[in-house]
């Protein structure tokens, strides 16, 4: 009998980049459905535009870098990057927003650093930060949910609007508006208390008294729970992030409820759940040690709260993630687990 000599560990892990990426894509499905139901078909068109851009950019960049095209495109990492980006941008924004954002994310966020595995920054958030800084006007006009606008665009209207800027019935201002995060922020700056702002009609209406934004966050939570169950992502990310964000919100809300919105507001509005389960969990640009992951996620949570309350932008996930991405080498260095047999 022939013996095979190998060294430990003997653990088997039946996963590949491809499989993980597809699982993440699948987990985003509930949120995609909720998004379509609540905000219309815009996101589907944006997604197809983003995927087309991603394929083109990947092909060109891989050719330029003299790398094989097929294995690098079919690892689906670009798909996850642009999917994350699509969820961040307003669903009715013009086509060049998602096209330039996806191209920037992939070229400057991934390929220039040497491709998947070498990027220090989360490409999707880099693309989103690029869009936030470059096109501030387009990025703040979010489509209003159907119940509030009293009107929703059909698929073809969305299509025409995104690609040609044509609106069939109503001007764009009649069905887009500020997101709740930015509305509450402006309200508080104008002296309205946070409590009053939250009772504004469009922050209360919705199915079972939960707003459209709340539903989307819950859909991300559901998808994320499945990701944790299948061990595609580590529990440290959502726990650290949501814990830190919730704790910050609770502390400040207890100190002054007029100035600071309650915990539920911070957890159910903006991109909180998207970030907790789909963005900060990117294995390439986040910390690699268990404790490091917790610190990394908590750092993002604290920064998101800080930027939401005292920063210039309504939501701070992109900037918080990018800042902590830079801190990852340092975090990793100081959280190395003890090697078996070594003293402290």
């Amino acid at each position: 009998m022939k013996s095979i000599y190998t060294s430990s560990p003997f653990a088997h892990n039946n996963s590949s980049v491809q499989k993980v990426m597809l699982q993440v894509q699948l987990a985003a499905f509930p949120a995609l459905l909720a998004h379509i139901l609540l905000f219309g078909y815009g996101i589907i068109i944006q997604w197809f535009l983003a995927v087309a851009t991603a394929l083109l950019v990947e092909y060109v960049m891989l050719k330029l870098r003299d790398k094989p095209v097929l294995p690098n495109v079919t690892d689906f990492s670009a798909l996850i990057t642009v999917t994350g980006l699509v969820f961040c941008i307003p669903p009715e924004s013009p086509w060049w927003v998602i096209v330039s954002g996806s191209a920037f994310a992939l070229v400057f966020g991934k390929h220039l650093y040497g491709g998947l595995g070498y990027n220090p920054f989360n490409p999707a958030m880099l693309g989103y930060a690029f869009l936030l800084i470059s096109f501030p006007a387009e990025m703040t006009q979010w489509t209003l949910p159907k119940e509030i606008a009293g009107y929703s665009l059909s698929f073809w209207e969305s299509f025409n609007h995104i690609l040609f800027g044509a609106v069939a019935h109503a001007p764009i201002d009649s069905f887009t508006g500020a997101t709740p995060l930015s509305a509450v922020k402006t309200g508080i700056q104008e002296g309205v208390s946070a409590q009053q702002m939250l009772q504004a009609p469009y922050l209360e209406t919705g199915w079972w008294n939960l707003t459209a934004w709340g539903w989307i966050n819950l859909a991300f939570l559901a998808g994320g729970a499945w990701l944790i169950y299948t061990r595609t992502i580590r529990w440290q990310y959502p726990v650290g992030f949501l814990g830190a964000l919730g704790l910050m919100a609770w502390i400040f809300h207890s100190i002054n409820p007029d100035l600071y919105a309650p915990v539920s507001f911070h957890l159910l509005f903006g991109g909180t759940m998207l970030a907790a389960f789909f963005i900060i969990t990117d294995p390439v640009s986040s910390s690699t040690t268990p404790l490091g992951r917790l610190i990394y996620a908590a750092g993002i949570g604290v920064l998101v709260y800080v930027i939401r309350n005292w920063g210039a932008f309504p939501d701070g996930i992109a900037f918080a993630v990018l800042l902590l991405n830079i801190a990852v080498p340092l975090i990793d260095r100081y959280t190395q687990p003890r090697v078996l047999g070594h003293n402290r």
Partner: protein
Amino acid sequence: MTNVWQQKWHDYQDIAQKGLWNNNQALVALLGLCPLLAVTNNSVNGLGLGLATMAVLLTSNILVSLIRHHVPSEIRIPVFIAIIACAVTVIDMMMHAYFYTLHGILGIFIPLIVTNCAILARAEAFASKNTLDKSIVDALFIGIGFTLVLILLGAVREIIGNGTLFDQADLIFGEVAQNWTLYLPDSYNPVLLAILPPGAFIALGLMIALKNLIDQKAKRPSLVTIPVEVKVSN
């Protein structure tokens, strides 16, 4: 006699090539990046700062080259800095007098030319060791190389980030230049990032990469057949 002139001409060509390309202060030595990155959100600003820097460089190279045998090497750096500071002060006051608006736009970056390492580097590495004529040629071509990068960087960032080219050219060229500005079509939506600080870093990085690419392509040897000796043993 002709031989000497030929030699000089050859030296000048060498200096010029180094200043413009092989040792370009902005693209190769990466000196003077602070003003380079800060003012190039517009091609005209780039040109303004480039000319000011060149004027300072010319003055300092001339003076340093003239006194190079009289300065003890222990205190040469303070002496060079004093000379540069004088030149900068003069340029600053002249720009204040003749290009008032441009002076206001460039603001702190004109006095800051004092700390531009490119100028001290040329004084230390070239002018203090070379004759007057060579130092003048060096200052001119280093200055032109730096200015060209400033203009190019400013133009790229202005086109992408503002949708214009040569905006406010009248600040340097006077009334004539008031309608030199070129506009991209209205449907173009400016990418603000390009005129913000990150845009400067990204654009400069791409320019350096482009230069390296050109160098690489130029260096690639043409197909040379290498004779191979094949021994066939029977």
